[in-house]
Symmetry: C2
Subunit: 217 residues, 2 copies
Amino acid sequence: MTITITAFERSPDGGKGLARDTRVRWALEEVGQPYTVRPLSMQAMKEAAHRCLNPFGQIPTYEEGDLCLFESGAIVFHIAERCAGLLPAEANARSRAIMWMFAALNSVEPAILEIVVVKFAEGDKPWASERMPLVFDRIRQRLRPLSDRLGEAEWLDGAFSAGDLIMVSVLLRLRLSGILDEFPNLAAYVARGEARPAYQRAFVAQLAQATGNPAPV
Amino acid sequence: MTITITAFERSPDGGKGLARDTRVRWALEEVGQPYTVRPLSMQAMKEAAHRCLNPFGQIPTYEEGDLCLFESGAIVFHIAERCAGLLPAEANARSRAIMWMFAALNSVEPAILEIVVVKFAEGDKPWASERMPLVFDRIRQRLRPLSDRLGEAEWLDGAFSAGDLIMVSVLLRLRLSGILDEFPNLAAYVARGEARPAYQRAFVAQLAQATGNPAPV
């Protein structure tokens, strides 16, 4: 079955791996599924043809035969459910791995994405500089309990899972802010995720795309 | 198997059904699973005993035998996976229903919860009144494509699913703002969700809790 995902024709982050196609590429690499990429310009993402696939006009989408999905969490979950390697077999452990996916996307990522609002959507507003420390404090309110829970463990709950894949993908975005370094165990956790060969392959592929030299995948 | 969930001892919304235990109660009612509620004070939610269940110190949690989950999306998914009635049997339709759960929690709810930041977390800041229209505009940017996608359909993708349950639960919070009425098909969609007997039972149960008269469930 051929898998096609969409990604930015040129990622706005210049290839830092922050666009959400990276987490989908990572999941596909973890389970050894080949895929092709259909790059989209910013304009094409907002057009009706793409909104048929994702009403919110964003990347990534995922096409496999008759199935079309959007929403990176849902795509990673679909891959994890179909292919071995990203969810534990034991029922309770599986439910907890899925729990960490939802936690990353609903309890951690929204606080982190507020940085984008302050910097870009409201970057020209007089309150931008005063708001940034407040946004950072709300991020810390999420990172502190996450750090406490992780402790000295390698991954959030036993073996590496789709929960870790999404959580690392969400935390990655904080690298440049310096906040991650306030929680050394979380910084090390992210580094462990990035060191995985599957992540490396995904990163190289998105970088090649972002810099205009897409390698064959 | 006994199911125990946690909820606010007294919900800060006074029983409007906006606390996240309501969506878990609703899912349990849809599939006909009895449950008991362990109410928690604001203080108890932040203590170590509860943080063992949910590191972020929030409600709801879900206990069933050896399994303990937090994160309302993960709990609703767990219920939907175990019990018939909230996910379609056909594989692709099932994946799309799960996609709508993630979309509600990651692409719609964060924009809506910014209202809480403006009103409460930053309610005393000089920029609060000027920011509110910007937050509302970002909510509209999510509601417009959602409204276009829903069109005149009853539910997001065929029969009522866990995707609709979460999406309606997320949109409910907008009722008081008036924004929902700008998209009559979404307002009608939410009303259809609320009219379901299972939602009604969940709502009555959380209201009784919030007002100090918990009915037996």
